[in-house]
Amino acid sequence: MSEARMSATTLTEAEIGRANLSEATMSEAGISQPGMGEASSGQPSAASGDVAGMGVAGSEEAGRGEAGVMTDEERDTLQEMMNIAFGRAAASLAEVISIFVCLSVPCVQLLRGEKLTAYLEQVVGPGREISIVEESFWGELQGSAFLVFPSGAGDQLVPLFGDEETLYEGEAREDVERDALLTTGSILIGACVGKLAELLGDRVSYSPAKLVAKRPGEAIPALLCDPEAIAIVLKTDFAFREESVEGFLFLITSEQSIDWLKQALADFLAQYEG
């Protein structure tokens, strides 16, 4: 506020914040995540954080973070970077296939590695079959990205890639649907992680995209589930307006990335100081 001459009628930071707690803050407090957007712009509309009809997110257990690892400002910055990165990813996907991706406000959480599987199970909902596309990434920032779709999304995505008859001709239906999921996942993950890394002054390499699991309990690699490790979870919900497919992308970065990440966030913010 230093340069701003705030008038008496302008909302104070506290007033702005009251009406608009960040998801990270709310999750820390064990509060369910807020709605993902407004129906009028075609954004996902699950007001309780029920993602893609895939269960209720942000329960007290899943939502607790690891206080003290990152400041509020660092998490806020990371959340904004994720917002920018996924926006670019959506635009990249729209260039390849004719689709409009409805975006939502991302959230950042810090979780112990041992809680990651429980977190994912709670976000998805008990017993639901899903399709998860996973890509690992390596740079100063390293971890894994997971794109989670409800089961059956592949079937809905295939028509976006061209004439169905041609695409399915001579191919097993399952293979074509898997390719549609992998291609979609690869574009979204690659563009999102790439932009995030760019904003942080990093460059990352990727593993090939793969379909990893049909159940959330099987998705998180054991390496990331170390009880002593703290993972940063960046999650954003999305919906494809044309095909009514909803899902979410989340990134888990390893604890080894945290010190570097904190410095990179400080460097990013420094360009906006003074």
Partner: protein, 125 residues
Amino acid sequence: MAKTLQSVLIVDDSPISRKMLKSCFPKDRGYEFHEAGDGQQGLDLYKELRPDLVTLDLTMPVMDGVTALSEIRAFDPDATIIVCTADVQEKSLLEVTQRGAFLILPKPPSKVSVLEALTKVEESA
């Protein structure tokens, strides 16, 4: 005659994003900044303050930027609104342009991109 900008309303749910954008405005022009954390607050403040310029994020809780844009323009067809967004999909940009956004400023903002936008606004009068 060039338009003079004095008061600016920044509407964005992210405090850090508001801070970043504000820091990109030229320091020597004495802008008066006001802030809102969602589209509804932005609309209410617009009606109260009638600022010279509004910057509007699109993805926000309570009321999103597209709705806020329409509501503000319905209240004041002469409102000058810059959409500052991470959603750079062509369809989104087309939609906000059709709804009366003056221009679109992709996130993250920079001093150069903000200055260019301000110059366009000032020269538009």
